[in-house]
């Protein structure tokens, strides 16, 4: 049976809407539950009878979290480390990705896979050698040290992703710029990067999320409370032999996605719109 063009379109639209609604619910339900839990006292979470909406909604958890321990310090550390990591990854990763994308040299494929080696090697054997390296370089307990450690582990991802995006930019665009008198470096800055902006933004988001949420390195490479990060602080809310403060933990989760939401709202107009809607649309 041949459906008319109209009918097909309608069917597609319905399917699309259904997929998006499902995706939205699946993605959001746990977050909504986290949000609801953050408004409950623990006695309203640990109940025999399920409480959907908080009976006694309270913002207490947020206030307590914020006044507690050094959560402001932790938050600040994480922000600085994330910004440093993303900057380093983009700077170094762009440069390497461009070389991988535009040049053919012996050992290129081996080098590409070699870049990934650092991610393939199980973390369990990395901890002690890395700790020793960090200690010898005097990088324990420093934000730049953690940012460097994150960068080395996120660089392969950033490089691979950026290479993919650079590959998609036709080289003749660059050539055109160079005929106009730009150097290769000039062409990268003026042509390649702007065209790859959505890809660069996607890479930035990816590295930012990874750096923002990293826990193990942050725990291992810090030895005083002043240098700990936000995920470590969140982790410390959960003790093995203590009641789990569900409300506090949920509030922590909500607080930790706030900066990213803010970032998205602020950047919506420039970077992220490009990232989400495709490179050069009209």
């Amino acid at each position: 049976m041949q459906l008319s063009f109209r009918a097909t379109q309608r069917l597609y639209r319905a399917l699309t809407a259904a997929v998006l609604v499902f995706a939205g619910i699946f993605a959001l339900f746990p977050l909504v539950w986290t949000g609801l839990t953050s408004l409950k006292q623990n006695s309203d979470v640990i109940t025999a009878e399920m409480q959907y909406l908080p009976h006694n909604p309270t913002l207490e958890n947020y206030f307590e979290l914020w006044s507690r321990k050094s959560f402001v310090t932790l938050f600040g550390n994480s922000v600085v480390i994330t910004v440093l990591t993303v900057s380093l990854c983009l700077l170094v990763g762009t440069s390497a990705a461009y070389a991988f994308s535009r040049y053919r040299f012996t050992g290129r494929n081996a080098a590409l896979v070699g870049f990934l080696l650092i991610r393939m090697f199980p973390m369990v054997l990395m901890l002690i050698p890395l700790f020793i390296i960090m200690r010898n370089l005097g990088l324990l307990n420093t934000r730049i040290g953690l940012a460097l450690a994150y960068t080395t582990f996120l660089l392969p991802i950033a490089t691979w992703m950026l290479k993919g995006f650079f590959d998609a930019i036709p080289p003749d665009l660059e050539d055109a710029a160079r005929i106009d008198g730009a150097t290769r470096a000039g062409a990268i800055v003026r042509v390649v990067l702007p065209l790859a902006a959505p890809g660069v933004a996607a890479t930035a988001v990816l590295t930012a999320i990874a750096a923002w949420n990293e826990f193990l390195f942050a725990l291992m490479f810090t030895t005083n409370e002043a240098s700990q990060t936000w995920p470590v602080g969140l982790h410390l809310l959960v003790g093995e032999e203590f009641n789990l403060p569900w409300g506090l933990l949920s509030a922590g989760g909500i607080i930790s996605i706030l900066p990213i939401i803010v970032f998205f709202v602020l950047a919506q107009k420039s970077l992220v719109r490009g990232l989400m809607q495709g490179a050069v649309k009209g």
Binding site: A23, T47, A111, M120, M123, P194, P231, L249
Partner: protein, 322 residues
């Protein structure tokens, strides 16, 4: 990103007028960029950074895998044992079980989020009303720190306080609350559900970025030629999206195989050994048993599997052909 020819010129001239001239004042960078050293110079920082971190751990790891080294027995030193620890692995029931679990976990924790991410990316590309909102919202699961996400899922699926159980019971799908993580048959599927939730935004983000770069004209041309939707998908979307798919799947697979996070928070490898994966085994061997030699052997095997997989996959996908 492929760019539609019509956009190209306007985009370029627009950029020209926007980028300040001082960028070219770094004249020496420009001059160097014209030499044949440029490629190497661009690779240098990345290589330096990575080699500082990679060589020592990997070499010491491989060295350890050939030596007996138990931290609890300092008196024994670190005698060379050759391939003995690898031979021991062959006899190790737990190893084979963990390998099987890793394969199960690895395949489904990559394929499920990939498929869901792909469907969502395809849907999002067809801009319908509200798609913009959904685009931002579906990224949220990924933003949540894993400690919160892990524990919140433990709460959602909890056998006493779990809202999912409550809903299923109210809908009549379950008779009573089900202990998802305590039963062999549902522990891994429950972890995979959490993995799907955590993982699909990554694919949706990357695949959407890839999809958006495919020019609409190609589809229109194919439609004029009489290609139906399925064949357009097969002959245009898939091949052009392939590079992004390959990158996304490779990166995700490596991350999934190497990370015991979900198991640590949700099941501790249990019940029994139902969710005991290699990454978890290696961690326990090193930091609970302190047998670093054996942990290194496990790690080297994992490294070998991942390298093998990556090379095969890249070859099959044809990414390294040039």
């Amino acid at each position: 990103m492929a760019v539609a020819p019509a956009d190209r010129r306007s985009g370029l001239s627009l950029l020209r007028s926007h980028w300040p001239a001082w960028l070219d004042l770094f004249g020496w960078v420009g001059r160097i960029s014209e030499t044949r050293y440029w490629a190497w110079l661009m690779l240098l920082p990345g290589f330096l950074l990575i080699s500082v971190v990679i060589f020592y751990p990997v070499i010491s790891g491989i060295w350890l895998s050939l030596h007996e080294y138990n931290l609890l027995r300092p008196a024994r030193g670190q005698p060379f044992v050759g391939l003995q620890q690898f031979i021991d692995l062959l006899d190790d029931e737990k190893f084979w079980l963990s390998l099987r679990n890793t394969a199960y976990f690895g395949v489904f924790n990559v394929v499920n989020p990939f498929l869901l991410g792909l469907v969502i990316a395809l849907a999002l590309k067809r801009a319908v009303r509200g798609a913009g909102l959904v685009r931002t919202l579906i990224l949220m699961p990924w933003f949540m720190p894993s400690v919160v996400a892990g524990h919140m899922w433990a709460l959602l699926l909890d056998s006493r306080l779990g809202v999912i159980n409550d809903i299923l019971v109210k809908l009549g799908l379950l008779e009573s609350y089900w202990p998802w993580f305590a039963r062999t048959e549902t522990a891994m599927p429950a972890i995979l559900l959490v993995g799907l939730w955590r993982g699909f935004p990554f694919f949706a983000l990357l695949l959407l970025a890839g999809l958006q770069s495919i020019s609409q004209e190609m589809y229109e041309a194919a439609a004029v030629d009489g290609a139906n939707a399925l064949s357009r998908f097969r002959h245009i979307t898939v091949p052009l999206l392939l590079p992004v798919i390959v990158v996304a799947i490779t990166l995700r697979t490596i991350a999934v195989v190497n990370s015991p996070d979900l198991m640590i928070i949700l099941t501790g490898g249990g019940p029994g050994l139902a969710t005991h994966v290699l990454s978890f085994y290696a961690f326990q061997t090193a930091y609970a048993t302190f047998d670093f030699g054996y942990a290194a052997a496990l790690s080297v095997v994992m490294l070998g599997i991942l390298i093998f997989f990556t090379l095969i996959y890249l070859r099959v996908a044809g990414v390294d052909r040039d």
